[in-house]
Every structure is written in structure tokens, then in C-alpha cells.
């Protein structure tokens, strides 16, 4: 297998175990409702196309930005489109039997979902990956992605993006969200090596 192809494969596997664990956590927070996940898409996105990672750059989303450090460092973005926010928050409130301000519920949801994703990556490498406290914004998706990339330590003209989606049944339709992982380029190589060391022995 070609090196680049192999790298994509490893990142795809990382995305799969990550979103799998995140979905399990999400499901348990939402009274064990079924959470569906997509196959992750791993892309090298030029900076000029970053605003379209979500789809429509003007789509209003509720997003949590979670930078993380450790053997692998980078940024995670957990987001829900405008029309899914109420349902997710209501289900989470019901499950916990707690009435609370929406941003606080969302912050904890993002913390648990992103951390669960990182826990899975941790078990692939044996490394501790430390998420920071989620920072929340409710605005256009393009603005969120662009601002997250601007806050990253190493800004190249492109970013490696592990893009995963999840959804659950809300009423008669599927309500979906996204978890996007943008690893720091500098730490990716070590991560790939560590995964190889634990997986391919």
C-alpha cells in the first residue's frame, strides 16, 4: 500500500473508532436512543475551501470548539444545525431529569462526546489526549471553521480533516450533527507511527 493511502486508512480507522465511541456516549446521554454514524471522510482541505467543510458556509449552527493536546494535538469541532438543537437538548434534559440553560447542556454534551472520541484515539495509541473546556458559538458554519483554523498553532495552506456525522430520529426525520477533527500537522506523523506500533505488531 502506498504511504499516503496507508495514512488515509489509519485516519479513517481513527475516525471510525472515535465517532463510534462518541455515538455510544451520545446515545447513553439521550435515553439510549439509536444514534447513527457515517463512515468518516478524511480530506486534505485547502484553506480557501475550509468554509465549505460543513456544506453551506452560511448555515447557522451551534458549535463547540475543543482544542486538545497530548501525543496528538489539534482541534475538534462538535456542531448541531439550528433545526436539531432543540431536540438534542430536550432529550438530554429529559434523560438527566434536569432543566438547565441550553448553552450549559450543550457544553457538557460537547465535552462528553469529544472526550469519548479522544478516549478511543487514546486506546489506539496508549497516549493521554487532553481536551480543553469546550468553547461555544452559535453562528455561521463557515465562520466557525475559519476561526478554528485561525486559532491553530500551525496554519498551512491546507488542513487535514477527519469529518464524521451522526444522527438520531427526532419525530419523523433524522436530525444530524457533525464532529470534525483537525489534527495539527506537526503531531500527525507521530500519531500514525504510534497507531502502527500498537496495531500492526
Amino acid at each position: 500500500m502506498e504511504a499516503r493511502e496507508w495514512q488515509l486508512d489509519v485516519l479513517k480507522e481513527a475516525g471510525t473508532v472515535g465517532i463510534g465511541n462518541a455515538a455510544k456516549a451520545l446515545s447513553s446521554m439521550l435515553c439510549d436512543r439509536m444514534v447513527y454514524v457515517s463512515v468518516p471522510s478524511v480530506r486534505f482541505v485547502p484553506l480557501s475551501e475550509a468554509a465549505w467543510i460543513w456544506g453551506d458556509p452560511e448555515a447557522i449552527i451551534l458549535a463547540a470548539y475543543v482544542p486538545f493536546t497530548g501525543g496528538l494535538s489539534g482541534s475538534a469541532v462538535f456542531g448541531l444545525p439550528e433545526d436539531a438543537v432543540r431536540t438534542f437538548m430536550r432529550f438530554m434534559s429529559l434523560a438527566a431529569e434536569v432543566e438547565c440553560e441550553m448553552y450549559s447542556i450543550f457544553t457538557e454534551m460537547a465535552n462528553i462526546v469529544v472526550t469519548s472520541y479522544l478516549n478511543a484515539l487514546s486506546s489506539m495509541t496508549g497516549w493521554v489526549l487532553r481536551p480543553s473546556v469546550p468553547r461555544v458559538a452559535e453562528t455561521m458554519a463557515g465562520a466557525v471553521i475559519e476561526s478554528v483554523l485561525a486559532l491553530m498553532e500551525h496554519t498551512n495552506d491546507s488542513a487535514t480533516v477527519i469529518d464524521t456525522t451522526f444522527s438520531l430520529e427526532g419525530g419523523h426525520r433524522l436530525l444530524g450533527g457533525r464532529l470534525i477533527l483537525v489534527p495539527d500537522k506537526m503531531s500527525l506523523c507521530g500519531f500514525l507511527q504510534a497507531v502502527e506500533a500498537t496495531y500492526c505488531r
Binding site: A25, I105, S116, V128, V133
Partner: protein, 124 residues
Amino acid sequence: MATSVLVVDDTAFMRLTLKNLLTKNGFSVVGEAENGEDAVQKYFELKPDVVTMDITMPKMDGIVALKSILQRDPSAKIIVCSAMGQKPLVIEALASGAKDFIVKPFQPDRVVEALNKVMSGGSA
């Protein structure tokens, strides 16, 4: 007398969830803290029987707070309650003196059991 608990977590939602759950099960939540610094200060102010400690928090994380409390009071009973269920970190927390490590999202029974066990002198 009811067991007194200090609930430490940065989100109001999680503090409220734990407070409801514990109160319903006969515990008395005597205080809340939203970061590690706050937790250390409130611990020595309130001297609760048990602390539930989050890890990912602003200012000072829960592991640092746990170590800082245990250094001054080795008899402190602290149960970590965090989404960070990564093996090396769980080992570090328990080795540092945490009585138990509950991974979020948790089943309510798991939390109640952990507190009862700690109060009856057992450990994880």
C-alpha cells in the same frame, strides 16, 4: 446525619444533574465548585465527607485539584467523575488517591454505589 458532598464540575448542567441524583438518594450536597481552584478552597471551607471531581475544567483541572487536596488532607474521599476514561489517566488518578473513577456518561446507580462504597470504607 446525611453524607455531605461537594460537587465539582465546570458545567451548571452536570452539577445540577449530580445534585438532583445525590439529593434523591439521601446525600446532602453542601457545596458546588466550577473549577479546580474553587474546589480546593471549598473543600477546606466545607470539609465535606465526599467530593465528586470533574477533570476537564478551566483554571485548574481536576487531577491537579485532587492532588492538592490530598496533599493537605490525606483522608479526603474524592471520586473522579469525568468523561476522560483514558487508561493512563484513570491509573494516575487512582494512584494519586482517588477512591473511584466514574466515566461520563454515567448510569445513576453507578454514582450512588460509588458514594455508598466509599462511605462504608471500601474503595474501588
